[in-house]
Structures are given as structure tokens and as C-alpha cells.
Amino acid sequence: MSSAPPGPGPSGPTPLEPNTRRRVLRQGLSVGVATGAYGISFGALAVAAGLDVWQTCALSLLMFTGGSQFAFVGIIASGGLASAPSAIAAGSMLGLRNALYALELTPLLGVRGPRRMAAAQLTIDESMAVAVTQDDRRAARLGFWVTGISVYVLWNLTTFAGALVGNAIGDPRTYGLDAAACAAFIALLWPRLRGRDSIAIAVAGGVVATLLTPALPPGIPVVVAAAAALLAWRGPRETDGSAGVATP
């Protein structure tokens, strides 16, 4: 941002130290590369679920929140167009956490106007995690933008590549793409299972959804199972108190 000599001035902000700057850039870009890599699996799964390549790309460009995208196509895969309302509901509930991230980020980023729209679109698990773990406000800003932009660019490129791969594959079951969806969901869940409370909520959600599956149309059991989150109403029984808020 500035090439002013290091050291705090009497007034105005201190420039970001070159070392800090390099560290934050490296951190943001590596998170971008790691996250971008699994855009491949999203693209392939979305096409296997029955979306075309452009619909798959539209989800990554416009929705841009990985867990919600996986949930949306997972439910479409099991129930087709008839389950679209459940797919929208599950995807939207899974995205609620982004509003909490935005709350945390508001004072750090101090954005207005078009920049605020851009910041909103880039508000996801990864950009929040990199931003809030910096110990300086300008490092947090840099971390947010570098991570958000690199994830956005790579996630969309790899989604497109994955969709082309998925299109070429044919029957998704032959390559275990249906099982890849199960593995993707458990991998998204895993880092959030910290403490007895979050494990109890996960077990309740899984059991409720399984028991309701034979009785209800596809997708609806998942939406109903979200009620298991109400178990967090009473508060933590343990010291960590972070029932499921991911800070990878």
C-alpha cells in the first residue's frame, strides 16, 4: 500500500512491515490454492447432480460459499428439481454463518459502497479465518482481500474444470462420485466437531435426518435436522464454548 520507511510516525497509521506483509500474502495465497483445489470436486459433483456446466459455474460465481453449494447440489442430486425448495433452504441456512463473519469483519475492514458489496461477496470461512487471526488491523485487511480474491479466482476456475471433467465421466457412480459427496460433507463437518456439544448436535442432526428419510421427500429431512442446532440454545457445558464456529 505504501512505501514509507518503517517505524511508527507521530500521527497516521504505521505502515505494514515488509515481513508481516509477505507472511500475510503467503498465508492468503496458500489458503486460496488449497481451497481452489477442491473446486474440482464441487464442479464434478454438481454436473453429476444434473446441473449443466453453466449452472455449475453460476453457483460458484454468484453463491460463492462452498458448504452451501455442496448442500444445494447434494439435495438436487437426490431429489431433482422437485427438491429445489429444500436445496435452497439447506443452502441458505448453511450460509447464515457468513452473516456472523461479516459482523466480526465490519470493524476490521471499514468498507463502504461498492467495496462493501465486494467484501460481502468474499465473506466466507477462509477469508474470515485469515483476517481475524492477524494481530494488526491492516494485516487483517490485507489478509481478507488476498484470501478472498485468491479463493474466488481459483474456486471459479477449478469449478469450471471440474464441471468439464464431470461431464466427460458419464455414470458418476462408476467413479464413486456419489461417495465423494459423502466424503466432502464429512470433511466440511470435521473441523467443526470440537467439544462434546458440537458432537451431540452432529449426532442428533444425523440421526433425525436418517430416521425421516423414508418418510419425507428428498432434502426435507436435512432441513428439519437443522433444528438440532437449537441444542446450542442453552449454552456450552464445556469450557471451549465454541459450538461449531469454525476457525480453521
Binding site: G91, I201, P221
Partner: protein, 104 residues
Amino acid sequence: MNLWVAILVAAGIAFATKLAGYLIPAQLLSGPRTRRVTGAMPVALLAALVATQTFTGPSGTLVVDARLAAVGVAVVALLLRAPFIVVVVAGAATAAGLRWIGWG
């Protein structure tokens, strides 16, 4: 509902949710209970998705097949701290392999 409409509605809600966090006064969303429940929602939903994607068979029946083995392998990979993409590929390969030898 047309699939394009569903995609645009879902994307619109996702963006509105993110933007809301920047516009809404913090007190409205930051009560400890609201925070805890919203924070726990991904746990409940993702667990429900793991369960339904693993056990749902044709027309809503519950089945045990290669997908459960894939989830088992995915859990082992996660315990070994494998990155996301490795977990997904290991799960897919497990199911594909089992089906290739004629099970599940």
C-alpha cells in the same frame, strides 16, 4: 421451478445474508444465543447431509453400500490430517474400487 431460478434464488439469499452482516446493527445478530445457534447450524446440517447422502437408496429407502465404506475411509484420512481434496478422492476411490469388485 426451473433449475436456473432455484440457482439465482439461492445465490441471491447467500449474498443478502453476507451483506446483512455488514448492514445490520451488531446487537441484532450478536446475542449469545443467536450466535450459538447460528454457529451450530452448519454442524447439524452437514451431519444431516453426511447421513442422507450415505444411507439414502432408491426412492427414499435406507441402504448400506459402498458409500458407508467410503465415509469410513474418509474419517481415517481426516484422522491422519489429510487435506480436503485427498479425503474426497480417497472416498471416491474406495467406492469405485468396491463397485469394481462387485460390491455396493
